[in-house]
Amino acid sequence: MTKGANRWQYILTGLAALAMVVSLCLVFAYVPTERVMGPVQRIFYFHVPVAWVAFLAFLVACAAGLGYLVRRELSCDALQIASAEIGVVFSATVLMTGSLWARPIWNTWWTWDPRLTTTLIMWLYYAASLMLRNAAEGEERKARFSALLNIIGFVNVPIVFLTIRLWRTIHPVLFTSEGFGLEPRMLVTLMVCLASFTLLFACLVGIRIRAERLAREVRNLQRHTLARADEWKGGLR
């Protein structure tokens, strides 16, 4: 990794950390407690940004997959792996935090509501696609296979988003045609949290891409070493 890229990674990490500290201060000290749900409603300021990051990650994975199929560049492949993996981590977190919010409010840990079910399907699909990628053989085939899976999988993402508008569901609708329907301090806190988690996503993508480049370097060096060993054996015969 170049020095310039390293510097950008440090700047991004610092910004994400700073934004997170501001978000935590807002969630714990600034935002008012919701009258009906009480303190548990504060999960909202993490649950929504985490869901946003999961959607964004799958969108980036889909775009990088398309980019790979068109340009066959390894950087697109590294981006699609990084994004899909982060999307899986964040959608698992959405399911867990949603469950912790549902228990005191809906009196159940889980219900087969359309939003919850489609989110679970989305998580299972992307988790399985990461495993399938590892099962494929050859760098090029892995990348092509992964690109196709990321493009096909993205079809479910708008469905997850629209479920609460298309079907009868108990999941609340946050964005309506009339706006957010939030008290101004709640809206400010939500926006800051969304920005912080987006920065965190960018930061994680950078770290994961770096790990992927190193893994590729190891595979290349191993290939060179093996090729040289074969040459050496051939010379002995």
Binding site: M37, H47, T93, R103, I207, R210, L214, A215, L221, T225
Partner: protein
């Protein structure tokens, strides 16, 4: 309504997941860096002397 415990649990879940993920990547990266160094040493050692 006292349901602060659920909020704190959700808060912990988010940060534990993020830290576990970052720790996993950092560990993988450290192992890969070691492997790159070791492989480069092997390649340099076996370089044919001209």
């Amino acid at each position: 309504m006292s349901n602060l415990g659920y909020f704190l649990a959700a808060f912990l879940v988010i940060w534990a997941t993020v830290f576990a993920y970052v720790y996993g990547i950092a560990r993988r990266q450290r192992n890969l860096e070691q492997e790159v160094r070791a492989l480069r040493e092997v390649m340099e050692r076996d370089q044919p002397k001209s």
